[in-house]
């Protein structure tokens, strides 16, 4: 057991992927910030926890999507699935007066199952408390923002906020896990399992 205590058993979750782009029909020249929010039992072992993307402009055509293709690469180690990492994304861009304002907050859990996943995260921004406030904030380019973009990954205290949805962000994840099953957490999706089982006999008896 001495060894066990020295090297506590952990499982690893490796996240590759990218923030592919966003769909904000009315806005342009946006960039996004992301950060991972995770519980106490989680620790990033490699990769970047936070990042800011380039500013993306919309294409010439009528295509509404903004493309960032901003890579994510991070590996977590953890002892406990509680506090599974979430990615909190916030999108910023200039308003009509050129002030940098927030265009959306959103968060999504990193998928639990290994494999490729695409998540579309609906985005929202906090609303001004009053109409006058809204006007002045629009005028001065200082819209209400969350004190912390990580707020959107938490449940506590959200009841006091009012938000308006705008746009979506698409994130693709490629998840690789290690030792999850060893610790008793079976997160393999059932299709993948059955596919793997189906494949095994065919390998055993090749044509």
């Amino acid at each position: 057991y001495a060894m066990a205590t020295n090297n506590p058993s952990v499982f690893l979750v490796m996240i590759n992927g990218q923030i592919e782009g966003a769909n904000f029909p009315e806005y342009d020249d946006l960039y996004c910030k992301y950060c991972f929010v995770y519980g106490n039992d989680w620790a990033p072992t490699s990769g970047l926890e936070e990042g800011i993307s380039q500013i993306a402009c919309r294409g010439q055509g009528t295509q509404p999507a903004l493309v960032w293709n901003f890579p994510l690469e991070i590996t977590f180690k953890s002892t406990n699935p509680f506090g599974w990492p979430q990615i909190a994304v916030s999108v910023y861009g200039p308003d009509t007066f050129g002030n940098d304002v927030v265009r959306g907050y959103g968060a999504v859990h990193v998928p639990l199952t290994p494999g490729k996943h695409v998540r579309t995260v609906p985005m929202f921004v906090p609303e001004s408390t009053s109409r006058l406030q809204k006007f002045t904030s629009w005028l001065m380019g200082r819209r209400p923002e969350f004190t912390d973009p990580k707020v959107v990954a938490q449940g506590e205290g959200r009841e006091v906020t009012r938000v308006r949805s705008q746009g979506t962000v698409t994130i693709s994840f490629n998840i690789v896990t290690k030792d999850m099953k060893k610790l008793g957490y079976d997160a393999t999706p059932s299709e993948a399992l059955s596919a793997a089982e189906a494949r095994t006999p065919s390998l055993a008896h090749p044509l």
Binding site: T5, N40, A43, T79, F82, T129, P144, E145, T147, T161
Partner: protein
């Protein structure tokens, strides 16, 4: 219904088909194929196609190929041609229902025969379908003919084209015209056909498809469009219809009738068509599977390779053929509009004609015109109404939305015109006291929680039927006398009937006869001789029985007789009464029917009976006699024996008495004798010999009795009969009294209230009280019950006119669950009322004595009474399920047994729970186990007795919880990992933010919990070692407890977020701010005197270690003590005799005289630098010169929060302090070699502590910045330094400084980045209402006062209510009350009140200070009363100030509490006194005072003043004490809380009347002194690990003597004398050192203070140390600790 519907559909279908076929004639191109298929399949022999089916593979393959091609084309065609069919079938699930039979019609046999060939999309055959077509009329026949004609034509056409079938068939298809006519037809058909299940969906999809056809027609350019190509590839490739048809045919030939066949085919053809089209439609999604399916089929036929090849070939071909690049389509506006008009529907605004809305051929009917009330509709604008109607009319069943009048059905306007709530005036004031609301605590009803168990699913299914059928009065106040008699008569008659019905007399008589016969039989059989014991015994038993029975019979007979007699008597009385009063009130009549009897027979019977009885009685008497005789003999014997004994004993006694007379001492014997005498004295009477009763007497008795109770022989049997046939005298003929009575009766009516669980649930109608005093209700109330039935009560009310009175109340027993409606017998419940009622008419009243006799004797008193006939039973629901609560349901068979195991059933299975008793009962009653009616019970018993199933004797709330537990609770509790997780989620301090909880149990080491468990243990045990003083330990523990409770109280608040916590939003700028901003634009970019700018605030959430820095800007210092050369002269003047006046008068002391001569001009007086210590990191400034140095340096210190938790609450609880120490840097030349002096410098640097400033981090955090000049806390004596200013009188500026003594340092401290202080928590606390015992009005006023203050002067603190230690809001003035200080303090300076005042202030300041913000994480200020404060010996500024203020008041001073802000504490409390026409400001924490105009007064602003009577809020422009007036009587300057409008209600104080002080404990103090000294010495040695620490004992003892003097002078300058003294003793030493004075709370702060001076850092090898500790005790264990610390360096 269904069949006729279907028939109708079939007909339509056929019509559509007919038309299609008709069209085929016109352009044969398309439809031919279909027909051909059928034709071929029908005939089965014409073409070569079906010949080889299944015989030769080659042929099959080729055949398939061709077939596929054909089929594909056909399908395509079908898709396009018959779009009408597609949508409802393919798109809506609803239409599948009808597709089934039609498709199945033709497929049924196929399905049966060749299921392998069926496409998976084929519906399973429906068996019912074949019957549909059997009954078709002449219409069908006509159609058959038509079809035949069409088919033959098509056939011929096909044969022409059969060989020339082109490969690119599509070309032809494209040229086709869109089949619009067919579309519309089909549309209609569909519309009509659809049952309305999904009409809209069907139509919409249909339109789309129809559209597709059109579009294609429009854009047709000769090549397939992308859509076409797509469709082509994705459509379903069905199994060959040809073969299918062929097989179908074959099969059918065997199975079905020939005549039906054709019909079916037609239908089937249509169905097939549809089915295939469906497949095409659905195939868009599932075509791939279809293809595969087909492949599989092919393979199954044995030609897989060929099939595959074909598929590939085919695809290659089509890919080339159908791909094309072409321009984007453009639709013209008009065409688009047209297209849209197909899809979209725009309801018109025009009014719909009424005719469309009412059913055909009907005139609208206007109910209102017919005189019916219609009501007013809610107002809807006409346009909207029209739109709605138009929209509705588009729907299929539009008509049902309209009423008879052709308007949309609508409810009447529910809004009432007038408000029903009466207006309430004067809401606030002058409310009628009767209307005043009174608070009552909510009471739980007793039954509220007792819901019927197991109601989850059977909710509301329990129903109790209460049947109130009627009531009869046996007495009513309105009874006339006749009624009374009548009722009595009826009662007697009823009794009679009852008895007759039961016929007890007859039964007993029979029994008697039986018994007699039995006895006779026995005796006859055996004779008297041959009787054995058993027989004799039996005879005796029989005889006993006979006797008993006879007695019973006699009693019964007598009763019968008396009943008859009394009935007759009553009847006679009644008749007499009727005659007397000359009218009749009642219809009662008694008839006596006489039954004649046979005289002789009767007599014989009578005589026989008597004789029989006599014989028996004789026997009994004989027996009795024998018994008595034997008894007599026995008694006689006894008596005789007694007599004999007595004679003997009397003789003895006489002897004894003679003997014993001389010696009287022997008393025992005497007693004994007396006892004996007594025994003997109770002489038994001499028994009398029993006498035989005379037989004749006996006979006489028997005959008498018989005459009394029995009918005389020959007397006819009288049978009474009461009828209601009598006539009642009409009202007019009655006298006035009777008339009035009858009138009264007519006025009365009765009703019954039904109360369930003491709640009225319903009441019966009112029924008039009839003249016969019977009321019939006949009402049944169905009570749907949710609560457990506790009681059912019926209340009988009598009403006359509008008023009603409760007559009586009847409790109805709750029925067993087996008592069900219908089978339950009605119950008669008697009721009575003790109400006294009198009348002045003929009514006899109630509880009133009355008499029937003329003389008024024999009075009767009757109470109102009667019988209520009702029935309460459980209702029977549908399916004969009793609607009784489940608990009392009888256990039924297996179900019942199951309920035992079922946890849910256990909840209420009270009927089953007592299994033991049940089994006991079953054993006792010897149930027949074979009786089928006992099966259930026996099964239950076996289950129960086998022990497998046990009824739990507990009640479970979450029955299924156990099923979901994966481990037991104990195991879970044992799990260390679970415990760790739990503790973390509970935010227990040790585990808050605990990282990486191990993944498996074994990796969690026990060590993790050690600290925590230790803390838990320590909570119990008081650790005296840590605290040195047991009292303080207890206090510390107590404080901890309070803190915990407070923390718990505010835990909720911590998790309560405000918007500002989460969202950052700019304030709406007011006009003023805007103006200011504009003004700012004009400001210079780089002003000469820059000001500090407000920085952006950062919330603590997204911070991590290293992000936060503490910025300390040391600007300058004043009045640093200067060094004194060793051989200094003693100072002459002592400042000990300072007076108050000096404090505020700029009195230059005569200091200047002292200085000047000591110092060589060029010598550096002092070289001070500042060292800042915070969280173990140390930064220092450069060294400056002189006593007024200027550094202007910024020091950056890193800050890390405890546990890396940067939440607001965590930051607030940081206890670290910033130490700002001022040192003097001294250099000593230690160059030993004089030759090197020129080239090298070898000096040793020593730093000497001069003083320090401590600022808690929490203060910085809460204030966000500290800016100001602070007084340096320097020791009263600094050895080697002089505090006197040498440069006095240098300039005007200094004269201001000299107002106060001591050194000062100007600082600016802040945190980078600026953290949002925990104000939010405080705000939250404000929102949270504390419970308070204050008057509501006062609280409101306080709130208003505070709000007003905050509005007018946002920055100024204003306190009206504070929270006491139990968390209750208390008005602040209650804290102020004169309290006398310890007497010894007053006695110390009896002549000098000033001294005494200062001493008192010092006493207060010596009570350790413990800021609330640290202990209670600044959640709120808790104010403890002074006695609590003294008991705890810890408190913050408020407590100190309150205590000081109370003392001052007791000492007769004018004193107020100041609520304001000070440096560095922030919001705080000071004390203001008024002395000699001037105001003094006291700092209670330090025991110092300042004049109002003192520059260095730490008090920066004054918010309000408080004394025992009032609170005044500062309404002056300025709040700095220097610039304001303190005269509270000036209303311009101060706004009082209590004014004339709202006078002080005379609030009592929360303070005790008197403070009780504990005596000074000198022994304990001395002990403590030793301990502190020991600990400190150890610590100093510990801090100097690399050097030996030598203690100079001599110096130490000197210092120790000196310390008490310092205490006496309260730290004032006594330094000079002392220094001289020291100097003389230790002339050879260079001493540096100082005494420290701290109030004693714990050891740790003392150690810290010593450490921070850095005395131990002297690293000269020959250094010696001196340490002396002195503890001075004051009352109540307030201790002043002095630590004198000195380092001595031998100079020689």
């Amino acid at each position: 219904m269904a069949s006729s519907d279907l028939r109708e559909k079939m007909r339509k279908k056929r019509r559509a088909l007919q038309e299609t076929l008709g069209r085929v004639r016109e352009d044969a191109d398309t439809q031919v194929l279909v027909a051909t298929d059928w034709e071929m399949s029908k005939d089965g022999e014409r073409t070569a196609v079906q010949e080889p089916s299944g015989s030769e593979e080659q042929q099959v393959a080729t055949l398939k190929q061709t077939l596929k091609a054909q089929r594909m084309k056909r399908r395509k065609k079908l898709v396009e041609d018959t779009p009408a069919e597609t949508p409802p079938e393919a798109a809506t699930g609803a239409s599948e229902v009808e597709r089934g039979p039609r498709a199945g019609e033709s497929r049924t046999p196929v399905a049966a025969a060749s299921s392998s060939r069926r496409s998976p999309r084929d519906l399973p055959p429906l068996p019912a379908s074949s019957t549909l077509t059997l009954s078709e009329g002449p219409m069908k026949r006509r159609m058959v003919e038509k079809l035949k004609a069409a088919r033959s034509k098509a056939e011929s056409l096909l044969q022409q084209e059969a060989l020339a079938e082109p490969a690119s068939r599509l070309q032809g298809l494209r040229d086709r015209d869109p089949l619009t006519r067919f579309d519309t037809e089909a549309d209609l058909g569909v519309r009509r056909r659809d049952d309305g299940a999904a009409p809209l969906v069907g139509r919409v999809t249909f339109r789309e498809v129809a559209h597709r056809g059109w579009r294609r027609a429009e854009v047709d350019s000769g090549l397939p469009t992308a859509e076409e190509a797509y469709n082509f590839f994705t459509f379903n490739f069905d199994p060959e219809p040809l073969e299918e048809a062929a097989e179908q045919k074959k099969e059918r030939r065997f199975v079905e009738d020939r005549g039906v066949e054709e019909e079916e085919e037609e239908g089937g053809g249509g169905g097939e068509e549809e089915a295939q089209v469906e497949d095409g439609g659905e195939g868009e999604s599932g075509s791939e599977e279809e293809d595969k399916e087909e492949d599989a089929e092919g393979r199954s036929e044995g030609a897989p390779l060929v099939e595959d090849q074909q598929g590939e070939l085919f695809i290659d071909e089509t890919a080339q053929d159908f791909l094309e690049v072409k321009k984007a389509e453009y639709l013209g506006y008009h065409s688009r509009v047209q297209r849209e008009s197909e899809v979209l529907f725009t309801p018109s605004l025009r009014t719909v004609p009424t005719s469309c809305k009412v059913p055909e051929n009907m005139q609208p009917r206007y109910l209102e015109e017919e005189g019916l009330y219609v009501g007013e509709r809610p107002p809807v604008s006409l346009a909207n109404q029209n739109i709605l109607e138009n929209r509705i009319l588009q729907q299929d069943e539009a008509k049902k939305w309209f009423g008879d009048d052709g308007r949309v059905l609508a409810l009447t306007d529910p809004i009432k015109q007038s408000s029903t709530r009466p207006p309430l005036f004067n809401l606030e004031e002058d409310l009628d006291p009767a209307l005043q609301t009174v608070y009552r605590k909510a009471l739980k009803t007793r039954h509220a929680s007792r819901y019927v168990a197991g109601l989850g699913e059977t909710a509301g299914r329990c129903q109790l039927d209460v049947d109130v059928s009627g009531l009869i009065f046996s007495h009513h106040p309105l009874f006339s006398r006749e009624h009374v008699l009548g009722v009595r008569l009826v009662q007697l008659y009823d009794q009679h009937l009852n008895r007759q019905h039961r016929n007890i007399t007859g039964l007993l008589t029979d029994k008697l006869h039986g018994l007699r016969n039995a006895v006779r039989n026995i005796t006859d059989l055996h004779g008297d001789r041959g009787l054995n014991v058993v027989m004799r015994q039996r005879i005796a038993e029989y005889r006993l029985e006979v006797r008993n029975t006879r007695r019973l019979r006699d009693v019964e007979q007598e009763k019968d007789r008396t009943l008859l007699k009394s009935t007759l008597k009553v009847w006679k009385e009644m008749k007499a009464l009727r005659e007397f009063q000359r009218f009749t009130n009642t219809a009662y009549k008694l008839h006596l029917r006489k039954q004649e009897v046979n005289q002789s027979r009767d007599e014989q019977d009578f005589e026989e009976e008597i004789q029989m009885e006599l014989v028996e009685l004789q026997g009994e008497l004989e027996e009795e006699y024998q018994r008595k005789i034997s008894q007599y003999r026995q008694q006689l014997e006894e008596w005789k024996a007694w007599r004999k004994k007595q004679k003997v004993s009397s003789k003895k006694k006489k002897k004894k008495k003679k003997k014993k007379e001389p010696n009287e001492g022997d008393k025992d014997d005497e007693d004994e004798d007396e006892q004996e005498e007594k025994d003997l004295g109770s002489e038994p009477p001499k028994p009398e010999p029993p006498e035989r009763q005379e037989l004749s007497l006996l006979e006489q008795q028997v005959r008498e009795k018989a005459a009394r109770i029995r009918r005389k022989p020959g007397e006819p049997i009288l049978v009474p009969e009461v009828t209601l046939s009598g006539n009642i005298t009409p009202n007019e003929q009655c006298p006035r009294g009777e008339f009035a009575r009858r009138e009264d009766v007519a006025r009365r009516s009765l009703f019954v209230k039904v109360l369930y669980n003491d709640k009225e649930v319903s009441r019966t109608d009112r029924r008039p009280l009839g003249a016969d005093f019977r009321v019939h209700f006949g009402q049944i109330f169905n009570l749907k019950i949710a609560n457990w039935p506790e009681s059912v009560r019926l209340q009988v009310f009598e009403a006359s006119g509008s008023s009603s009175a409760l007559l009586a109340e009847v409790f109805v027993p709750l029925p067993e669950s087996t008592v069900l409606t219908g089978s339950a017998p009605p119950q008669e419940l008697e009721f009575s009322s003790s109400q006294r009622v009198t009348f002045n008419h003929e009514g006899v009243g109630s509880d009133v004595p009355f008499s029937f006799e003329a003389d008024g004797s024999n009075k009767l008193t009757l109470l109102t009474s009667g019988k209520l006939s009702c029935c309460v039973s459980w209702a029977v629901g549908e399916n004969d399920i009793p609607l009784a609560p489940p608990t009392s349901q009888t256990p039924g068979g297996i179900h019942g047994a199951l309920r035992q195991t079922d946890a849910i059933a256990c909840i209420g299975a009270s009927g089953l729970s007592d299994m033991k008793r049940l089994s006991k009962w079953a054993a006792e009653s010897r149930l027949d186990p074979n009786d089928p009616s006992n099966v259930v019970l026996m099964q239950l018993l076996t289950v129960a007795s086998s022990g497998e199933v046990q009824v739990p004797d507990y009640f479970r709330l979450e029955q299924l919880q156990e099923e979901f537990n994966f481990v037991t609770d104990e195991e879970l509790q044992k799990s260390r990992r679970f415990r760790l997780l739990t503790l973390r989620s509970q935010e227990v301090v040790e585990f808050r933010n605990y990282k990486n909880v191990p993944a498996v149990e074994r990796e969690v080491s026990e060590k993790v919990f050690q600290d925590y468990e230790k803390r838990l243990r320590d909570g119990e045990v008081v650790d005296t070692k840590e605290h040195l003083d047991p009292h303080r330990a207890v206090v510390a523990k107590y404080l901890k407890k309070i803190r915990e409770s407070v923390m718990n109280r505010f835990l909720i608040a911590k998790h309560h977020f405000l918007l500002s916590d989460l969202v950052q939003e700019d304030e709406v700028p007011s006009i003023g701010v805007l103006g200011l901003n504009i003004f700012k634009l004009a400001e210079p970019k780089r002003p000469l005197k820059p000001r500090r700018k407000e920085r952006k605030k950062v919330t603590a959430q997204n911070l991590a270690d290293g992000n936060i820095k503490l910025l300390v800007n040391i600007i300058r210092a004043y009045d640093i003590p200067v060094r004194k050369p060793h051989p200094s002269k003693p100072a002459v003047a002592s400042k000990s005799a300072r007076s108050f006046t000096e404090a505020f008068v700029a009195a230059q002391s005569s200091q200047s005289a002292l200085h000047g001569n000591d110092w060589p001009l060029n010598q550096v007086q002092v070289r001070p630098f500042v060292e800042v210590t915070f969280q173990r990191s140390v930064r220092q400034t450069t060294t400056a010169d002189g006593p007024n140095p200027c550094w202007n340096e910024e020091l950056e210190l890193p800050f890390s929060a405890p546990n890396g938790d940067y939440s607001t609450s965590s930051l607030q609880s940081v206890k670290d302090e910033v130490f700002i120490n001022i040192f003097d840097e001294m250099t000593f030349d230690i160059t030993e070699d004089d030759r090197e002096r020129g080239s090298t410098v070898h000096t040793r640097i020593e730093k000497h502590w001069l003083g320090s400033v401590k600022i808690p981090f929490s203060t910085i955090y809460l204030q966000s910045r500290i800016d100001g000049t602070f007084k340096v806390q320097s020791p009263p004596v600094l050895l080697g330094y002089s505090k006197e200013r040498s440069l006095a009188g240098e300039g005007g500026y200094d004269s201001v400084l000299s107002l106060s003594e001591g050194s000062f340092v100007t600082l600016f401290i802040t945190i980078q980045p600026q953290l949002i202080p925990g104000e939010s928590v405080r705000e939250k606390m404000k929102e949270m209402k504390f419970d308070s015992q204050e008057d509501e009005r006062l609280l409101h006023a306080a709130e208003a006062f505070q709000r007003d203050a905050a509005l007018r002067f946002p920055g100024r603190p204003c306190l009206t209510t504070v929270i006491d230690i139990s968390g209750k809001a208390v008005f602040i003035t209650r804290y102020v009350r004169p309290l006398s200080p310890p007497q010894e303090l007053l006695d110390a300076f009896p002549n000098s009140p000033q001294e005494a005042t200062e001493l008192v202030a010092r006493y207060v300041s010596l009570i350790p200070s413990l800021p609330d913000s640290v202990s209670f994480t600044s959640i709120c200020d808790l104010w403890s009363t002074s006695d609590q404060f003294l008991a705890l010996l810890a408190g913050d500024e408020e407590e100190h100030a309150v205590l000081l203020c109370c003392y001052f008041l007791a000492m007769g001073k004018k004193a107020w509490l100041i609520i304001g802000t000070a440096i560095p504490e922030g919001p705080t409390a000071y004390v203001l006194t008024y002395e000699q026409g001037r105001y003094l400001i006291w700092d209670p924490g330090r025991g110092q005072y300042y004049g109002q105009y003192d520059t260095f007064c730490p008090l920066q602003s004054v918010g309000c003043l408080i004394n025992a009577d009032n609170v005044w809020f500062n309404t002056q422009v300025y709040d700095a004490p220097m610039r304001m007036g303190f005269d509270v009587s000036r209303s311009k300057l101060w706004k009082p809380f209590f004014s004339r409008a709202f006078p002080n209600p005379g609030l009592s104080s929360v303070q005790p009347e008197e403070l009780v002080y504990r005596r000074v404990d000198k022994v304990a103090a001395a002990e403590l002194q030793d301990r502190i000294e020991k600990v400190l010495k150890e610590k100093i040695m510990e801090w100097r690990p690399r050097h030996p620490t030598r203690w100079n004992r001599y110096c130490t003892s000197t210092l120790r003597h000196f310390l008490p003097k310092l205490e006496q002078s309260r730290g004032r300058d006594v330094g000079d004398e002392h220094r001289l003294e020291l100097q003389s003793m230790l002339g050879d030493y260079r001493i540096s050192g100082f005494p420290l004075n701290v109030p004693f709370s714990e050891l740790q702060p003392i150690v810290e203070a010593v450490y921070s001076t850095g005395v131990h850092n002297v690293e000269v090898s020959n250094v010696e140390f001196a340490l002396a500790v002195y503890v001075h005790p004051y009352a109540s264990n307030v201790l002043s600790v002095w630590v004198y610390l000195a380092s001595l360096v031998r100079t020689r």
